[in-house]
Subunit: 463 residues, 2 copies
């Protein structure tokens, strides 16, 4: 409790300074524009949902990490009389907290689709860029409040959408100048066929948990993990030949196809990937960054078809997004047979990658572009209307507020605020009807009139 | 608790469908662009703050309406042993809740300024568009989660900024085509001088609470209220002559000046308003919508100088924003002498007004602009690259996912989704290398090539 008396933001949460907001908006706007160009439309859901909507959807760990909101009013009296067995946190929580903060955007989407099913047209292509909250242990790249950017298609089983999602990842990364990316794909059906071949289908879940750790703990680590989880010896012995298959999709497909022959489940999984790749080929999409990794599992309980993960190479954060096909999104809320497919971008991780690789465009600056100096009341009839005129053209500017301050003080204000230009209008300029525009980086000054000034800043913005 | 088992959003909170999101963004973008044109820069703060940061800042009622977030983990054990006197909600809350959701954007701004004072340049002009949460009784136009759009200048006492805020209100309303607005202004110093003249300065707070109700309960209602609050008889008797002063600023100023003569406090208040009006006149601002109302109080404890309120005439919601000068924003957190001035827009109320007056531009549509029909696999080598080409130009489009569906079914999909155009490419079109663009509202069809298609949609967007 000592923490709470400190004047600071809660642990794992962040203030964003103007430059950070501008950089974050650059990421959000890029993603939004790509989503929209694929015909996705935006929705928003409340920050809070009833606990009963969120409960039981994220497993034991998720349940604990979820932020619960205390009922307002006299919560204490509403649970009287209090029996001894209620006196523990787990039992008390649902009695004093009716609501919780959004843990992801997927369960709220499912609730939204059920609530609004009669207003929506299916396939419903929605995107959603909103914050989620998780009381996770904070660490580099992991925050307790962060922004998810999700796109999902609900109500169509067409593999065309899997292809779209791969295209979306590619288009976003290219627009962010992140040329060194990988889109890793797999199919749950391939995982199942592999488990079948390795004699561990009955322990499919244990098998996936173990192989998901390959990147972290290596082959022998995974084999030890399998031993610990009591997987059959044949699985452990024969796993190695599967662990080395991952590679560019066009090279890996035939090899994997061969290994999975005579498994109808495996062949189905392969066919689905072939169809997606065919669509991408017709769209003349770059395929070399698409990796087929038969070990990719990602939250195995959830996906039923193709699984996607997006990574940036040579970056300190690994995955910057993922997704896939899930066959029963809304079944938890009683609406059956709504298949879905979707992806998510981790905007905070993308931020870290762009910062690390110095890929934010230089022109992302939240600052005003111009400071209009205030050199005396006699200039007000000139400078105030000019300021208003420029604002109608959306040129971000400040007028210096105090005419009694010296010009040098006013210029140094612009400097400190990183405002790149100053407009100087004194009595001399008013006589000649020509203003002085000073470039504060170079010290250069040029004579200019209002109309030219507008063009100058409009061109600067466009460049 | 019955509520919590329903599948719905929590009371007072809202889902936003695509069209609503697009309309809300139209409002936010308009406000944002105006803020930026005045040189305000964006910041963001976390949704949660430590309870100790928020506590004691919003009065008894605010404290109750604030949403508290339950500590994670075993909150119950951390308060053992529990003495009998702790067993009530008020005392228990701070022990089991360390954090609360943001109640407004002003206290977080004060905390932000103190935390980052060495990174900021003063006067610091920040804007912030974020959600706030209040457990208020939901009613028309009042929600438990809503978006505030605030702009504040911290660290300058220049009255130039009061003028800017009035200009900002005017520019936003004009851009939203809300021509019938009123900017109502007053000054706390005028309120004080009035209380002095009416012999009730020692009961200033009671006086303000009573007069703030004039619009709701009328003159005799206010007089009864004054009686109830034990204000002197002379106040009650002489109040009427002040209650009728409100009017356009240029007409009201001289009348009010006369009534406040010989009050140094009153004269100071009048002078401040005169200076603001002078700046607005130099800027060639429209003054007829600016009303001087000597009874405007708005959260009297807070403002120390000029007070501003923005209203839309002939609308079912009254105030759509307000603000003013406050002399000691950060004093509560130990940083003295930081004067501030700021305003807020109630975006949710603006939404209701624009809807009511049917002022949302028709072109605000979240939908895709084009559906590319999918008339067989043999068209894929043509349609997929066209789709990609158009997307690089940010034209929002969908490709119909299933080639096995009939053309009529595909067209009716576009219709239902309110997609205005369809691109038809069959074998015939491929032979002639001319596509068919169908306007789904008129049924008209035109032959078109890819490059023309791009221009067609780019021009449509711009118009």
């Amino acid at each position: 409790m000592a923490q709470s008396s400190k004047l600071t933001v809660p642990s794992g949460m962040r203030d964003f300074l103007p430059e950070q907001v501008a950089k974050r908006n650059y990421i959000f706007n890029t993603i939004r524009q790509v989503f929209e160009s694929f015909g996705f439309v935006p929705i928003e859901t409340p920050s809070m949902e009833y606990l009963s909507v969120l409960s039981g959807k994220y497993g034991e760990e998720g349940e604990q990490l979820m932020y619960k909101v205390l009922n307002s009013g006299n919560f204490w009296e509403s649970i009287q009389p209090l029996s001894a067995e209620l006196l523990n946190s787990k039992k008390l929580t649902p009695l004093i907290c009716e609501k919780a903060l959004r843990y992801d955007l997927t369960v709220p989407l499912a609730r939204f689709v059920v609530n609004h099913q009669h207003q929506l047209q299916f396939p419903f292509k929605r995107y959603q860029i909103q914050n989620v909250w998780r009381g996770d242990r904070p660490q580099k790249g992991r925050y307790r409040e962060f922004t998810q950017c999700d796109a999902d298609v609900i109500g169509s089983s067409s593999l065309y959408y899997e292809a779209e999602f791969i295209q979306i990842y590619q288009m976003v990364f290219e627009r962010l100048n992140l040329t060194e990316y990988q889109i890793i794909i797999n199919n749950r059906k391939i995982l199942q066929a592999m488990a079948e071949k390795l004699n561990c289908l009955p322990q499919f879940k244990e098998f996936c948990i173990a192989i998901d750790k390959l990147e972290k703990i290596g082959l022998s680590g995974v084999q030890q993990e399998m031993q610990k989880r009591n997987l059959p010896l044949t699985t452990i012995q024969n796993f190695e030949e599967w662990a080395t298959l991952s590679g560019p999709v066009l090279e890996t497909l035939p090899r994997l196809k061969e290994k999975l022959s005579h498994s109808s489940m495996g062949e189905l999984g392969i066919q689905e990937i072939e169809q997606v790749i065919e669509i991408l080929s017709f769209a003349q999409n770059e395929l070399k960054n698409i990796i087929l990794d038969p070990l990719l599992a990602r939250g195995l309980d959830y996906y039923t078809g193709i699984i996607i993960e997006a990574k940036i190479k040579n970056a300190s954060v690994g995955s910057v997004g993922g997704g896939g096909r899930y066959d029963d999104l809304t079944g938890i809320f009683g609406l059956k047979q709504m298949t879905g497919c979707g992806i998510s971008f981790g905007a905070d991780r993308l931020y870290d990658v762009l910062e690390e690789k110095q890929l934010f465009p230089l022109e992302i600056k939240p600052n005003a572009q111009l400071l209009i100096l205030n050199l005396g009341k006699e200039t007000w009839p000139i400078i105030y209307p000019i300021a208003q005129r420029l604002r109608t053209e959306n040129i971000p500017l400040e007028v210096y507020p105090q005419s009694e301050h010296k010009m040098s003080k006013q210029l140094s204000y612009a400097d400190k605020k990183k405002i790149p230009f100053a407009l100087i209008i004194g009595t001399e300029e008013i006589d000649s009807q020509q203003w002085q525009l000073k470039n504060l980086a170079t010290g250069e000054q040029q004579k200019i009139q209002t109309q030219e000034l507008i063009l100058f800043f409009k061109n600067r913005k466009a460049s």
